[in-house]
């Protein structure tokens, strides 16, 4: 064991295919977390548990790329935010036009459509919403008067497709359709062929007009949401959250938890074990019995008790995981240092009168470093899965949602028995991949450190 030098370890390691695979996966993960930290602001991520900030997203939407494999396209959820804007004034009446074009190319009706706006006007104003369909039919959807405002102030509103007046307006125009419009919802009529109740593909134009008698009237924010059943790269969950955000941000969190816990507990275990082994006799006995006490504690129940009673902060949890992590390493480190201290050079150092701390740090610990690296990478997956497990039980830190918490929510909403695979598979796969990367690296190191296993 002591005959291996760092350069030899490096050489051996790069001969090992599994080790290289592990390093490759790990670097992809690190890259992902860097991208996540740069592209997605922490504020978005902090809003994870705030349902208000996800309101314009669809519920349990399937990932968009699924459409590539389907012959019948699932409607995508579209959020249109940049309309074509025109102004017009005639005889004291000013008109503001906002025009949204949408290419609807799917084999199913959208869930709904929502128009969200905030307008700045004075006096009274009238909002009109029309739609021009690919087959040329012009449908009037809505014509509503906005509340009377005294001066130039702002009025914000959301118009839903479930609005009663939209329904009424459509029924008034039922002569344009060859089927009965009763009991159909607005989006099923608007996006339907005139002959049959089937989705009509093509370019739709949503036209919003605001009439007023003040030339400074303006629609400041204007957003049209066509509620579909597919959204984003990773889909959304029951609470309309974009799973891609959660999955991306989960990566740096998992790496943080795994690495901090394993490095800290290996360092603690090494120092503790080596010192116990080096001092021997009573110190050893006392320290090892204390070690046994911690070893006998059931970790998971204790972690649950601690996180329920003390705090469920992620940093405190990392601390708790360390408390249970160092024990096994301390045992091995002790037995290794028992062997090393009988070597000639350690005895020589003792005879020369070197300090204990110096002997432990300079002469014994470096011999254990290869073992330390192997055990760091082997203990990372355990830390990650334990944290994921605790989060899965609903004891995670709500301000830092992790993969485990996504799975917790999935379980709460019965995703498995409802077949929402995009909610279950990716977080677990990420946990497994992260674990595998470290296990690969650890195994490669381990087979160098313990050549006996190789044969």
């Amino acid at each position: 064991m002591s005959s291996i030098t760092p350069t030899e370890i490096k050489e051996e390691f790069f001969k090992n295919k599994i080790g290289i695979a592990g390093i490759a996966i790990l670097s992809i993960l690190i890259l992902t977390s860097i991208i996540a930290v740069i592209t997605i602001p922490v504020e978005t991520f902090k809003e994870w548990n705030n349902p208000g900030s996800w309101i314009s997203y669809p519920k349990v939407a399937i990932p968009v790329w699924v459409n590539l494999f389907l012959s019948e396209k699932i409607p995508e959820h579209k959020i249109l935010e940049s309309p074509k804007i025109n102004y017009d004034t005639a005889e004291n009446i000013s008109v503001t036009y906002h025009q949204f074009g949408i290419n609807f190319d799917y084999d199913d009706f959208p869930n709904d459509f929502i128009y969200e706006f905030s307008a700045k006007y004075s006096g009274s104003a009238l909002l009109q919403m029309d739609i021009i369909r690919p087959d040329g039919i012009h449908l009037k959807l809505l014509s509503t008067s906005l509340p009377n405002l005294d001066s130039n102030s702002i009025h914000s509103e959301r118009i839903f497709s479930t609005d009663d007046s939209i329904k009424k307006n459509l029924i008034l125009q039922s002569d344009k359709f060859l089927f009965s419009l009763n009991n159909l919802s607005a989006e099923d009529i608007v996006f339907s062929k005139a002959e049959k109740q089937e989705p009509l593909k093509g370019n739709y134009i949503f036209l919003i007009k605001m009439y007023g008698n003040n030339s400074e009237n303006k629609i400041q924010e204007s957003k049209l949401i066509i509620g579909g059943k597919a959204f984003g790269i990773m889909g959304t969950d029951e609470l309309r959250r974009d799973l891609a955000v959660g999955l991306l941000w989960g990566t740096p969190l998992a790496l943080f938890i795994g690495l901090v816990v394993s490095i800290a507990s290996v360092v603690m275990g090494l120092l503790y074990g080596v010192y116990a082994g080096y001092r021997g006799k009573k110190t050893d006995e006392v320290m090892m019995r204390f070690n046994d006490v911690i070893y006998a504690l059931p970790a998971l129940p204790f972690l649950i008790i601690l996180s329920v009673t003390i705090s469920n902060s992620i940093f405190v949890l990392v601390g708790f995981l360390m408390v249970f992590g160092w024990v096994g390493i301390a045992k091995v480190a002790r037995s290794m240092s028992l062997q090393i201290k009988t070597r000639g050079y350690v005895e020589a150092a003792t005879m020369m009168g070197q300090k204990d701390s110096k002997i432990v740090l300079r002469h014994i610990l470096p011999q254990l470093l290869p073992y330390a690296f192997a055990s760091i990478s082997i203990s990372v997956p355990a830390a990650i899965t334990t944290e994921a497990g605790l989060s899965f039980l609903g004891l995670g830190d709500p301000s830092f949602p992790t993969w485990g918490q996504i799975l917790h929510d999935a379980n709460v909403y019965g995703a498995a028995s409802r077949g929402l695979w995009w909610w279950i598979l990716p977080p677990g796969v990420m946990i497994a991949i992260t674990g595998l990367a470290f296990v690969f690296i650890g195994n490669a190191l381990d087979s160098i450190v313990n050549p006996k296993l190789k044969r």
Binding site: A296, P298, L300, P301, I304, I305, V308, T309, P381, T385, A388, G389, F392, L393, L407, A410, N411, A415, A416, S417, R418, G419, W421, I424, L425, P427, G428, I431, A432, G435, L436, F438, V439, F440, N443, K452, L453, R455
Partner: protein, 318 residues
């Protein structure tokens, strides 16, 4: 510990008062109400003996006696299925279910693991050896409960073969109950076994590989003893002490059930009990369950120590 107990008392008093609005209505001011609550709490702490330090002989003696007679008192919130709140009865109700699922699974895992491990350990580098090793590595990095969710997705949503909930719907008095229970048990059992046996096989394999390099095995090979006999009666017997320790530990550990696995499959065993007790801070149950599990742990370590002597006579001398 004391602070947790006191918190439990505070919680209990508060919840009792909020459940009964008449009490809070009968007070004129908030201060008066608060002082009443405080008085109630102090009174209860005194009757429980929590005002004395934990090392007072009175408290220790009483607790010791109670625990020896397996009297853990009454649960604060949880009840057994039959409605009893006696901790002993609750645990006795949950324990058999956990034994049924997890102990069965552990036994299956260890049997598969030992034979697969011995087999691949004797043929290092063969296809089976590589498959076992890589399976062990891969399966150890998956969380069991996630595989459980996948299994529910696969076998109760895509192919509707097994039910998603692991508890049978029909009452236990029904003659078909056992069959239905076993049917509901299949999915969790398959999941646990699938995830578990890989690492077992890997452990046993590593022991066997180590032993196969020892002189006495090589000597036996040169004499011409049958390969199978060498592996299963000589090598395996030498590898037995560590295997027995792990078996004993995992058997006693299985009694605790995997808290998370039971949550996924909705299996009403010890793990669920533990989790529910912890989330509502039901101390008598936490203490009782921990105590029972610790006793099993100690017993299994003791049995493992005795078996050591049988497998490795050198231990007996020391």
């Amino acid at each position: 510990m004391d602070s947790i107990l006191k918190q439990g008392v505070v919680f209990q008093v508060r919840s009792e008062i909020t459940e009964n609005p008449k009490i809070s209505e009968s007070f004129s001011s908030v201060d008066e109400f608060e002082s009443f609550v405080q008085m109630q709490i102090e009174q209860r702490i005194k009757t429980l003996g929590l005002d004395e330090p934990w090392y007072s002989p009175q408290r220790i003696g009483l607790t010791m006696y109670k625990i020896l007679t397996l009297d853990f008192g009454r649960a604060t919130f949880l009840t057994s299925d039959s409605g009893s709140s006696d901790v002993k009865e609750i645990i006795l109700e949950k324990l058999p279910r956990t034994i049924l699922l997890f102990t069965t699974a552990t036994i299956i895992i260890s049997v598969i693991g030992i034979f697969l491990g011995a087999f691949s350990g004797s043929r290092v580098g063969s296809v089976i050896d590589r498959l076992t090793s890589s399976f062990a590595v891969i399966s150890s990095s998956f969380p069991v409960w996630w595989i459980g969710m996948l299994m529910i997705f696969l076998f109760s949503f895509v192919y509707q073969i097994f039910p998603a909930r692991a508890t049978p719907l029909i009452p236990s008095s029904d003659p078909n109950y056992i069959g239905s229970l076993l049917y509901h048990m299949t999915l969790p059992l398959i999941t646990i076994v699938m995830i578990g046996f890989g690492s077992w096989a890997y452990l046993v394999r590593n022991f066997i590989v180590g032993i196969m390099q020892e002189d006495f095995i090589i000597a036996k090979k040169t004499i011409g003893v049958d390969q199978k006999k060498i592996i299963y009666s000589h090598a395996l017997k030498n590898a037995a002490p560590p295997i027995v320790t792990i078996l004993a530990l995992s058997l006693s550990g299985s009694l605790g059930g995997a808290i998370i696995t039971e949550a996924v499959f909705d299996w009403p065993g010890m793990g669920r009990l533990y989790f529910e007790a912890i989330t509502v801070m039901d101390l008598p149950i936490i203490i009782g369950a921990t105590y029972i599990l610790t006793v099993f742990f100690l017993i299994s370590i003791f049995v493992a120590d005795l078996l050591y002597g049988y497998f490795d006579p050198r231990v007996r001398v020391g």
